[in-house]
């Protein structure tokens, strides 16, 4: 059987979705509660890693997700820089988030100027980057052997 035992697979199937949801929640609420793009991004990567470890992976799928995650990581970086460049579009300086986006109603979800979109960009970048690193180190291939 590919991957780990049935118990691990069942628990992973139940947990992975919730882990991904929790990571997304932490990314989106980074400007209101503890957390943010870095913590949520690592959690999203952990959700993918859990599935990959529990179920093992096929060579071809793994190569595809490897390419895809490195592309998504670069896209996250590009998104972050273009968010910073939006300050120029608003007629002020690099990283002038409040001028470009407005600050919104304080302590609501849609607020915080540049912080909410920048958290999303960093979350995408960190999650995809760490999952690509995990695939490159090849831990799931070790689980496949037995």
């Amino acid at each position: 059987m590919r991957g780990m035992s049935l118990i691990v697979q069942t628990v992973a199937r139940l947990l992975a979705g919730m882990l991904f949801l929790f990571g997304t929640y932490i990314v989106l609420h980074g400007h209101l509660t503890p957390g943010g793009g870095f913590a949520g991004g690592v959690l999203i990567a952990a959700a993918f890693i859990l599935v990959s470890l529990a179920f093992g992976s096929v060579e071809q799928t793994e190569r595809n997700s490897y390419t895809l995650s490195s592309v998504v990581e670069s896209l996250g970086g590009v998104l972050f820089v273009s968010l910073a460049l939006a300050g120029y579009a608003a007629g002020t300086f690099f990283f002038q988030g409040a001028a470009a986006y407005g600050t919104g109603t304080p302590l609501r979800l849609i607020s915080g100027g540049i912080i909410l979109p920048a958290n999303i960009a960093i979350g995408i970048k960190v999650g995809a980057g760490l999952f690509a690193v995990f695939l490159a180190l090849g831990a799931s291939r070790f689980v496949m052997k037995d």
């Binding site: 209101l32 690592v42 690193v133």
Partner: protein, 113 residues
């Protein structure tokens, strides 16, 4: 003050592993220990007695007893960077093992020369 010195002791333990150990994985563990010690030192410097986390939960909240947020902001990014650099070092170590079949740095030096 004792807490700060204990933190520096942790840094010196990590540095000991980096300087005197000959196993590459052990050296990477030493680097990780140094990194944890520095991160913890920042958080200890920013701590305030009877402080609360620097998060505003409702308008008009008293902000006088927040702990220092600047060291926390500096460390937050450094933790994730530390994971990425540790992964980089581990990838190098794995390549070295595939080539020389050992983690011993003196052995590797002998095999090369």
């Amino acid at each position: 003050m004792i807490a700060l010195f204990a933190c520096l002791l942790l840094l010196l333990i990590g540095l000991y592993a980096v300087v005197t150990k000959r196993n590459i994985i052990r050296i990477i563990i030493g680097f990780s220990l140094v990194e944890y010690a520095v991160n913890l030192f920042f958080a200890l410097v920013g701590f305030k007695h009877n402080g609360i986390p620097p998060i505003i939960t409702h308008l008009g909240q008293s902000r006088s007893n927040f702990v220092d947020p600047v060291p926390q902001a500096l460390v937050l990014t450094a933790i994730v960077i530390g994971l990425a650099t540790t992964a980089l070092m581990l990838a190098l170590a794995m390549r070295i093992y595939e080539k020389y079949r050992t983690f011993d740095i003196t052995e590797i030096r002998r095999l090369k020369g």
